[in-house]
Symmetry: C2
Subunit: 255 residues, 2 copies
């Protein structure tokens, strides 16, 4: 049973302001809670049904994570999921450390991706394609938003991110290193025939407006997914997957 | 201003039972309403703000579509969208006609895709990749669900679908024709190296359980998207896009 102050603390983490203030975020549902307990994140509290607790006691014992037993109704009242019959975790956010693509490494740059569902999907896609670093504009959705964490299906535990000023990062870090910067545009080179380099950055832009001009000027390779029908565009998550698939496919040695 | 009976008729179309009973469905938002008015669907009524009506009068005049002027508040009250400052349309559903892939044509088979958002995304992807026919198990989400229509971003006007018994369709129509049936499995051939044939079917399975055994036994080519990282799976919409991209890519002549 959760105390009043525990309940209101957990509920406050639905909002970005309080996540930042408390340096904590929510992870919800059986699979995600199991994954976060096995990851390098610091879990401060697990709220679990009796059933979930018993089946996963070795996970909470691992780091001696405090556990509160709660009913399904309580879990759903303090969390954001419509249905949650397992658990939620209060987890410490990580420091916002700079990230750089190493030689031969692919990293993602997200310029103003606003939809939490899209961001979560992109984390999952990055994780599938072995992309470990995601650099986000300050205007990109908050990765600690419960919808992002939930849509990532546990992939948030295997991918790192940094939020900051993309233009100054591109100017001071990427440009001097002469690394390839691929960017998704409607008028770029056909990714079915383009020879991708062995590493670099892939920039994905805003859902409606694409990549901003001030970021776009650092793109060294404008690329496009060829269209065979009539849809005006692809969703940004879909486009990220198809571009990474083409990049990886062009480099069989990296498998 | 909508009458009480118009309002309750429109609201009834949120539910599948009434969509079937009235052979009608809802299309919402400026872009989708414009597209449906330009398509071969029969639009029975447009409910529009004064502004949308004035700007699109040539579209509603085209087929002499009846128009009711409504406020934004009214639109949002009778529709399903959280915000809609333009229009909605009541549109007649189409007959459930059989579909078959012609020689050299790619068609999709959806075996129990339950999430309306996924189905809408798949319509949009099909439209991007020039796939015009989608065959759905009876258990697949209703394509006329407002969430599907909305997620398809207008692509529902350019793609045809059929709902029915997939196993009997595969048994009686596909098997005798000796057409290739590709199916997404975790243990299939690598789509980065597989030589796709010039046409046939691509089967995508349920979000949690994949392709059912009774459908899977008609799959002639089990295929897999290679994984480079650690995510357990890709969302079914994402996987559909990557598979169609690889199929199209393997056939440059079809561009």
């Amino acid at each position: 049973m959760l105390s009043k102050s525990q309940s209101s603390f957990i509920r406050s983490l639905h909002q970005k302001k309080y996540r930042q203030q408390h340096s904590a975020f929510l992870v919800e549902g059986a699979k995600s809670v199991q994954e976060v307990l096995l990851s390098d994140f610091h879990t401060e509290l697990v709220v679990a049904t009796e059933g979930f607790y018993k089946e996963n006691v070795q996970l909470t014992d691992r780091q001696r994570t405090p556990v509160e037993i709660a009913s399904v109704a309580e879990l759903e009242r303090v969390g954001t999921l419509e249905s949650n019959n397992a658990a939620l975790a209060v987890v410490r956010t990580k420091e916002n450390r700079p990230l750089v693509a190493q030689a031969g490494e692919i990293a993602l740059i997200l310029d103003d991706i606003r939809d939490p569902g899209n961001l979560g999907t992109i984390l999952r896609i990055a994780d599938w394609y072995g992309v470990r670093k995601i650099l986000c504009s300050d205007t990109t959705a908050d990765v600690y938003n419960p919808k992002v964490i939930s849509a990532s299906k546990g992939s948030f535990t295997r991918v790192s991110w940094w939020y900051g000023d993309l233009t100054s990062f591109l100017e001071t870090t990427v440009l001097p290193a002469q690394v390839s910067v691929y960017g998704a545009f409607l008028d770029g080179a056909d990714v079915h025939t383009l020879p991708f380099g062995s590493g670099g950055y892939l920039v994905m832009g805003n859902e409606s407006n694409g990549i901003r001009a001030e970021v776009g000027r650092f793109v060294t390779n404008r690329v496009t997914i060829p269209r065979y029908g009539d849809a005006e565009s692809l969703n940004v998550g879909i486009a990220t997957a198809v571009l990474l698939d083409n990049w990886r496919r062009s480099q069989p040695l990296h498998k």
